[in-house]
């Protein structure tokens, strides 16, 4: 079976390369080429109806990467129920990625970062806005646009320190008493989130 593997691989590569002339590029290229053979055969079958639109005709082409690094980072910070920041031009954001606090400047390498519970700060000149983010993702694009999505993000002033302490104590105790894997995981999550909130309030 594996003897055929190289033949199968080379066959699929050859087929791919022969189609490369008509292969679709990334969406950085403007998707304006309409397949004319399809449109002609459609018109033969249904001359009174417009040919169907494809999703790519509704898409705006992805903005091209500027050749020089832009001076500002454009941030879109969205929550499921509200758009916190939309197209805001800032100098830097620091996001709580699972790999640690990540500072994002204009011209950052395109990255997808998973966020852990922690503080996200948006720096604009001398203003710093801090939010506590429960979890989410940050998509950093090549054109210095940062899309940050979180399930829950609150300004630090809205967090009640006494409830954080209570929750931390409760979950630490639950972690010690947990028996099943799932209970342990839930208690561990509780401990992590509350410690992060604690650190955010005191740090």
């Amino acid at each position: 079976m594996l003897r055929q593997a190289s033949r199968l691989l080379s066959r699929s590569v050859a087929a791919g390369s022969s189609k490369s002339a008509t292969a679709r590029g990334f969406s950085t290229e403007v998707p304006s080429t309409i397949d004319s053979t399809f449109v002609e055969s459609w018109k033969k079958v249904a001359p009174n109806m417009d040919p169907p639109q494809t999703p790519s005709s509704f898409m705006k082409p992805r903005p091209s990467t500027a050749s020089s690094i832009p001076t500002k980072l454009t941030v879109n910070f969205v929550l499921p129920y509200a758009s916190e920041l939309s197209g805001k031009e800032v100098d830097m954001v620091i996001i709580p990625a699972t790999t640690g606090q990540m500072g994002v400047l204009p011209g950052h390498v395109p990255t997808i970062a998973e966020l852990k519970p922690g503080i996200m700060s948006v720096h604009e000149g001398t203003d710093v806005n801090k939010y506590f983010v429960s979890s989410g993702f940050a998509f950093l694009h090549a054109n210095s646009v940062a899309d940050i999505i979180a399930v829950e993000a609150v300004p630090l002033e809205n967090i009640d320190p006494s409830q954080v302490q209570k929750g931390l104590a409760e979950f630490t105790q639950k972690l010690a008493a947990a028996s099943t894997d799932l209970e342990k995981a839930e208690a561990q999550i509780g401990v992590e989130v509350h410690s992060a909130m604690n650190a955010a309030l005191t740090g």
């Binding site: 429960s134 809205n158 954080v164 995981a185 999550i189």
Partner: protein, 70 residues
């Protein structure tokens, strides 16, 4: 083949990312100061009814609601 990536502890315990993320969000919401906490909890209330179907007909629906008495 052994798994190469280190899985997060919640995935190892059988939890999905969405469950993990929702638990984190709920914990944060529970630690908010008062008017924000009431707003956040009311925003997240759900109210829906589920019916299982058998033989092409819906059976008695189950009502799940966070607003009591509905």
């Amino acid at each position: 083949m052994a798994s190469s990536a280190a899985v997060p502890f919640w995935r190892a315990a059988g939890m999905t990312y969405i469950t993990y993320s929702n638990i984190c969000a709920n914990l944060v919401r529970n630690c908010l100061k008062e008017p924000f906490k009431a707003e956040a909890l009311s925003r997240e209330k759900v109210h829906f009814s589920i019916s299982k179907w058998a033989d092409g007909k819906p059976e008695k629906p189950i009502l799940r609601s966070d607003t009591p008495g509905v």
